[in-house]
Symmetry: C2
Subunit: 711 residues, 2 copies
């Protein structure tokens, strides 16, 4: 009976909440309320920044146990261990620049210095570029023994083509082999996008839509002899079929010096390929707009028993266009697949009137143009000509597993950023890539692909409300210091830098609840749930009857029991209702009860009837109040159902696990409904399982479980 379960929940709620507090909370989310119910406050750290004004944090660089976070007119060096400030650089634009900026119709907010490029040139030399009130400028700082930064005596350099003018423009830069590679725009109006190697000033071809067509650069990395850039741009090859944005990975060779006469000071090694993050099928559905990527790491998109079964990977966040039905997806790409794509054939267009077609091998110069040449200035003209006209590879880089690892659709949330904890060794002996996905409504979603074979079966383990729904997560980063036994997730938004634990195993007080989490970090060992490499765990199936017998002898609703343990003892509902009775006035009269003796004395009768009457009032009033309370609580509890996108309520937390169970057993669980081919209602997460090769469309399966967490 749903009621009975409901009542257990109800008692809990009576204890843990008061109506008014919850009401006010619902109407507006405020960070201060974070403290109220959080059992784990001690493990959540926050970097305060400037408390009184906007921070505009942006995580730019991490090194060892510190990170460099750009703020408005400021760069913070923050300890990732304590989230305290190690050092700070203040760099505000000069007033004259601000005045010019504002004269050019820019807002006071725009006419600040937003740091966009940070490069460690040596152990204690920091190269910094900022928008500097629409006058991009670069500086070098030296870090002293005490950790503080001192501006070097060099004059400020122009930051044009290294850093954008407009702080809202996306930019990425990477420092490799003593050279800075930046991908940004080189002019005030953001019309001249480019990738630039700033030592020799080699850049991409200017104003050639085949090379870069309104790109939006999201990230970059260097590897081997090349530098890679992830971006989205208007797809020139699709223009005949309608304007569309595609995601790309582009690359240049580190030793590229540009061509000779043709392509003078222009990269001779810039090639790009589409990134294919799509639901496969006869008519694949593409997530076309890359938003961000994880760092490159050695991982595996699926679980493996062999710690060596890993390769260089990068995970990307892809969205559907803003003007469409909002969807987000996570796709993983193998570095080897990227390389293979660039070793393939090119895509070309004979003339403007022709289709974009695969360029035959016969028309492709030898050696393959993608190979890095030690003397790019000596490349023959026909090769340079080919390179100039064929920056696009024919094939797209396939996603690992052939499908997104995670798909999300909702009217008010999209993914923004992903961090991966590579190859986490779970107690089930497998290694998992654990994904932490930030959303633009302030949540972090923790998920793993548990699909062992080619099949992708991602489980959403936790859905963690970190910031208010109006505070998008802009960055997430896993920090781990094995020496100090510290592991945490750094989560950044415009105005917050916080760290949260990677898991909340210890909150689970029973074996069953621990195993049900399906969290690779959490295993039941002895009498506690913790981050252990041994113990009872089953990421694949969660808790089941076939599990270790020591995990069986637990009551079904042990979660409640546990929650009761950590809360104060529950007062009986009557206690809540009775005290309020006295103040009430007027009530329906209830006649003498049948069977009551008429021989009682007048006094006694009066007294008794008075008490009967009072109690009748009490009954009625308490019934009314109880129903009200019950109604309210029921209302709130039901709110737990399905409201994955709702502004979070702490109340919901108490019930979420309970609810999952209820609905799983009644076949109503929102993430598990094996009997229906259509999706259960309000499903936000679906995992796209790779179909058999010959099927017309892929199997789309709901994720089986997730826990909502409010910090």
């Amino acid at each position: 009976m749903e009621c009975v379960r409901g009542f257990v929940c109800l008692v809990l709620l009576t204890v843990t909440s008061s109506l008014t507090v919850v009401e006010s909370w619902q109407s507006e989310w405020s960070p201060s309320s974070t403290v109220r119910l959080d059992v784990n406050t001690h493990s959540v750290q926050r970097f305060p920044g400037k408390e009184t004004e906007r921070d505009d944090f942006r995580l730019l660089l991490t090194e060892d146990d510190s990170m460099l976070v750009a703020g408005r007119n400021t760069i913070y060096n923050i300890s990732m261990v304590t989230l305290e400030e190690n050092a700070k650089i203040e760099w505000a634009p000069e007033q004259s620049h601000i005045d010019v900026c504002q004269m050019r119709q820019k807002t006071p907010d725009e006419c600040q210095n937003y740091i966009r490029v940070l490069a460690k040139k040596s152990r204690d030399t920091l190269f910094v570029c900022g928008t500097n009130a629409f006058k991009p400028t670069c500086r070098t700082y030296n870090q002293g023994e005490d950790g503080s930064y001192q501006k070097t005596h060099h004059k400020d350099k122009s930051g044009t083509a290294l850093c954008p003018f407009d702080p809202s423009h996306n930019t990425t830069a990477v420092y490799a082999d003593g050279k800075l590679y930046s991908a940004t725009v080189a002019d005030f109006n953001s019309r001249d996008p480019l990738i630039l190697e700033s030592t020799q000033m080699v850049r991409t071809e200017q104003f050639d839509s085949k090379w870069l067509n309104e790109p939006n650069f999201v990230s970059s990395f260097e590897k081997d002899d090349k530098v890679y850039f992830f971006f989205r741009e208007t797809a020139v090859e699709n223009i005949n079929c309608g304007k569309a944005v595609f995601s790309r990975v582009g690359r240049v060779c580190k030793q590229d010096q540009g061509g000779n006469i043709l392509l003078y000071n222009i990269f001779t090694s810039f090639f790009k390929a589409r990134l294919n993050c799509s639901i496969p099928g006869d008519f694949p559905f593409y997530f076309d707009e890359i938003q961000s990527t994880s760092e490159v790491g050695k991982g595996n998109y699926r679980p493996t028993y062999d710690s060596g079964d890993r390769s260089d990977m990068v995970y990307g966040v892809f969205n559907t266009p803003q003007n469409s039905i909002h969807g987000s997806a996570i796709c993983a790409f193998r570095y080897s697949d990227i390389i293979r794509t660039f070793e393939g054939r090119f895509k070309g267009q004979k003339s403007f009137w022709h289709n974009w077609l695969t360029v035959p091998w016969d028309d492709t110069p030898q050696p393959h143009p993608q190979e890095c040449s030690n003397s790019s200035r000596k490349l023959p003209d026909n090769t340079l000509n080919f390179i100039k006209n064929h920056p696009l590879m024919n094939s797209a880089v396939p996603a690992s597993g052939g499908a997104p690892l995670l798909v999300h659709t909702s009217f008010n949330a999209q993914f923004t950023k992903i961090a991966v904890d590579w190859m986490v060794h779970a107690a089930d002996e497998k290694y998992y890539d654990v994904m932490f996905v930030g959303t633009d409504d302030g949540r972090v979603i923790k998920a793993v692909n548990k699909g062992g074979s080619a099949k992708i079966e991602t489980v959403v383990i936790e859905d963690i409300r970190v910031f208010s729904p109006h505070d998008p997560v802009t960055d997430v980063k896993v920090f781990r210091d094995k020496a100090k036994n510290i592991e945490k997730l750094i989560v950044v938004s415009k105005d917050n830098v916080v760290s949260i634990p990677l898991h909340r195993c210890h909150e689970k007080k029973t074996c069953r609840s621990c195993v049900e989490l399906r969290d690779p970090y959490c295993a039941w060992q002895g009498s506690s749930c913790g981050n252990a490499e041994r113990g009872v765990q089953d990421v694949d199936n969660g808790w089941s009857m076939t599990l270790d017998p020591s995990c069986q002898d637990v009551t079904i609703y042990d979660d409640n029991k546990k929650e009761q343990e950590v809360t104060t003892p529950a007062p009986t509902p009557a206690k809540c209702a009775c005290p309020t009775v006295k103040g009430t006035v007027g009530s329906p009269s209830i006649g003498p009860r049948a069977g009551q003796s008429s021989e009682e004395t007048q006094d006694a009768t009066t007294a008794a009837s008075a008490s009967v009457e009072t109690l009748a009032i009490a009954i009625v009033v308490s019934i009314v109040l109880s129903m009200l309370i019950g109604f309210f609580i029921g209302y709130k509890v039901a709110g737990c159902r399905g409201n994955r996108d709702s502004d979070a309520s702490y109340l919901e937390r108490t019930c979420s696990l309970q609810r999952s169970r209820n609905r799983l057993s009644s076949g109503e669980h929102p993430y598990y409904n094996p009997d229906h081919t259509i999706m259960p209602k309000q499903m936000n997460y679906v995992v796209n399982v790779k179909g058999k090769l010959n099927t017309a469309s892929v199997e789309t399966k709901p994720v089986t479980k997730s826990n909502k967490v409010y910090l």
Copy 2:
């Protein structure tokens, strides 16, 4: 306070429901439960069909006040007034055909006779084609004086190319000027799609993907000298950019006899154009798969004060591909826009390697090939050659208003069918096209565009659960008999034919609730809400303080009052709780109340304390029960929130209006949230307002209101 409102709702629910009934209802939807809570049962009619076996209803033809509904091996002539059977034709396949069919690996279900073509050749001659166990066959029936049908003496004709072999294949046919035009497939394996004029046997070019490329025909109509077909097909012009399905309108001339040597017996007047149902913007978002259309009618997609300001229109239902994030849209197309598109330029491809480009006027034959020629056999060869290679028009037919009238996204529901009640004269003096949209989860959504200017502002007025969530609505039709003062909506699913009222005005007992409906049918006149052309009404704004003063003096929550009026008198909650008290055993004892006299006699004290004790038990038990009930009800009521896609509960009906109000006032209303640019949670309906011409993307605005209705 939400609690207070909740309590009113709670009392209502206590009266109208018992827990167990609702519980069992939730677990499985059964049509029989329709009767239980329905105040309007008398106005809902149902055609029973074959109660014991599958019906596979399909509404094929309507005439005057009767409709012809195909069933499996049966055709019903049903009165639209009473929904009773006027006459019936039984036509099962011969056993020999069934045997052959099953030998060809078809299921017993497929090897039945599914009627797909019905044409009234004269007042009492009916031409019928059915799949006939994968051996399409046609017959003629005469209707006698008594209304019954008699098979004529003619031999059965082959139905190949008129009717598909496979009942799952979409087909459409139209009888015009004594000739039958069908759009179907002509072979067993559905590989040879065609449009055929069956008297002269003129068809579309065979196996030419430029003409028809895996089409799915959805509807057809005849007008002036042409016959039009709506279909979706794999877009040959997009093939270089990936396989995609586009929606089309195609047309042929009625007097087309085919060409001479070139295009012999092939249409010389078949042209097609894309239907553009998209959210406009820099990167338009297309709803590419047409599902169905309304009938052609004289209407206007936006309200007008002038009854003459109307033109021939057709409304279409468009979905996103199955393999994507599910979305549906309604777009309206003007007949004049369709004609204009066909009068424009053509799209062509010089060679297979070329882009699809606009054909210049210089290369287009004169007169314009789309003009119907009286002697198509005499067309010059160069014209025929052009026609053969250029079936596709360059432009797409634009949607009226430049954007969808209604957009819907959900994991488990898409639109299936639309009926339009053209130019309904509302009490606010305007004429509205009222849309009734069927969904594949058994609902009918009633909506109007209230946007007076170019802006589209559709209001969802009602969301009516007609069938179980597993019973897709396959057809909707507005029936109106002014003479008999009958108006109703016929709703068809595979196993149900029902009629429901076009509106539920009379359920509103106060002016405010009546006006708040924003239903063009409903106006407050005197003391009742009804379908009147005069009275208080404001479709544009709903109820507001500026309204007629006679509509002001109403309490805020008059809906409840009304609901109480129509239900049986509410027992006090105590009455529910008390009778159960007697049976309970054991209770916490409560001591004598302070202030109780010690001079009372022992008897009296005993009696009194006994009653106090009993009443204490009563209090505790009733509190517990009330909380339980309250909890349950609150849970259910909250279920009303946002669960637009949920399996419907009758319970929800009672609360839905109440809920809308609550949330509107608290800023939480799911359909109205003006302060946020992001969508409120669980929003299923958005209206895409036409943006200014130069804006990058359209404004996407939630619909302001809708009422959930359960029949």
